[in-house]
Amino acid sequence: MIILSKLTDIFEYLAKRHRLLPWLLAYVLLLPLPFVLAGLFNEYLIDLVNRICLFILLAVGLNIVKGFCGQVTVGHIGLYAIGAVTSAVLSLEPGGFGGALGFGWPVWLAIPTAVMVTAFAGLIIGLPSVRLQGAYLALATLGLGESVRIFIAVTPALGSSTGLMMIPSPSVGSFTLDSFTSYYYIVMTAALFGIYFSFSILRSATGRAFQAIREDTTAAAVNGINVIKYKLLAFVFSAVYAGLAGALFAHMPPGYLHHNNFTVIEMVTLLLMVVLGGIGNVWGGVIGAIVVAIAYDQTKDLVFYFMDRPIVIQPLVFGLSMVLLVMFMPRGIGGWIEDFQRNRRFIRRSEERLSGSTRNT
């Protein structure tokens, strides 16, 4: 607690000097991470960190539509799939394995195009939110998201059962970013920018419009907010995050993707991150993404034998944790963070009042 408090003090001090200083500091601190990990542990952990960065992008993006704007969506992983497959197919050489499509675009052109395609798909996944709410909206978005996966699974041009292989890596000049370490700098930068932009949105009139819709849609409309426009905008914002995460996933070493990367269990994992993080809290979502991604990685191969039959228990564990979380920790980690911030504010106000009164006497 005290460490956290000191850390916040440092960041707040820096933020007073210049708004971007804390971000710069965070970036600099994160630069040597792959070397530390490789030195202390092994290369594999860098890969894990890379995947965590993608999950942070996904969770922070999902948080915009679900946390800020209050729209229940279970189709987010479908957007991730669209981003991944679009970027992969655009950048693959024509005439690849197993009839997979390929257009041979440069990777740096494929990624932004994939993000734009995903943004448009986000608009479509968001359309049911104009008329539906709550569980109905969840069902509609789940249907749309899952149909994306099935479409990929049955379409040879998009990889179907074999998946898409040898997706090219991006390169800077003559240097190809095809190692875990070099790719880390792409995904880490993307994740940090993602978090930063999420705060920019939250603290603007746009973010307040999202939150007003979440709190009371009728009141928001009467306050002059075009509810449909802002709901769809929230879906598009979150789709941009998902599309970027997906595209970066496609080009991440080893450059392979399969429709199994986009199942409902991945969606549950993603929701778990946001729920654990505390709906609507950006840092909570980031921490949730880190914790759940590590837990996911650790339990992935956990097999339990029942009468000599192997049983993979991860889906059960994750489904169950979701239920328990919602029941016993509805505000998530974000709830703690908010309490912590409020305590600090309260203490600061009391201190100001005290010093004010001593000055008066």
Binding site: A205, Q211, A219, V222
Partner: protein
Amino acid sequence: MALLETLNLSKSFGGLQAIDNVSLRVDENSVHGLIGPNGSGKSTFFNLLTGVYQPDIGSHISFNNIDITNKPAHYIASQGLARTFQLLRLYGELSVLENVLVGYHPHTKYGPLAPLIMGAEVRRQDKLVKEEMMDLLEFIGLAEHAEIPAAELSGGQRRLLALGRAIAMKPKMLLLDEPGAGLSPVNVDNLMATILTLKERYNLTIVVVEHILKVVMATCDTISVLDHGQKISEGSPTFVKNDPAVVEAYLGREMADEDIRAAMNS
């Protein structure tokens, strides 16, 4: 001059005629009272004016010489028609300041994508708007609670915030749905005084629904009376309180409300 005008305004919910052919004019700069027994359609009337409900076919509403019939709520709001809700409907988890900032939304000078591309300009604008909104909070006496979530305010403070959020929209006309509900008579008097100062300061036209008739009689220029969704009387406070139809509507329901009796007899 009429700022707001309805012509044959009707709304039925299934078989229930909640608003029945109501034609009504509200003059610019007036304080117009809307009274009637519980369930007579006062809140529904406001919901129709502000686009929360769609009126039945054949209805017409014009505001500031613009036809707003069947227009979406956010459009009507942007034309300068603001309201409060009987049950307030504040944004509970947002701070007091954020609540009034949402009210300011129609006047935001940057587009919804601007926060991503022109951060500095957005921050400059937001700073100016925040100062303006703090002035407003100062005026209604909520400035020291600016950072507190709206849900944590006391009942009276919540009513003030609902008022502040509507004023932040810089409306031409303000519809108040039972602004003093749940307050003690003394506090209702104070609230009405605040409302009248706000009216002068922001140059507003006001329509107020209030069930304490004494308050309505004392503050309104004109009063319209609804019963079973129909307009049964309209005129100056003296005219309305002596109108047999009004007395009938209230007493005919055997409403043993001391306030009403007192108002009728005074």
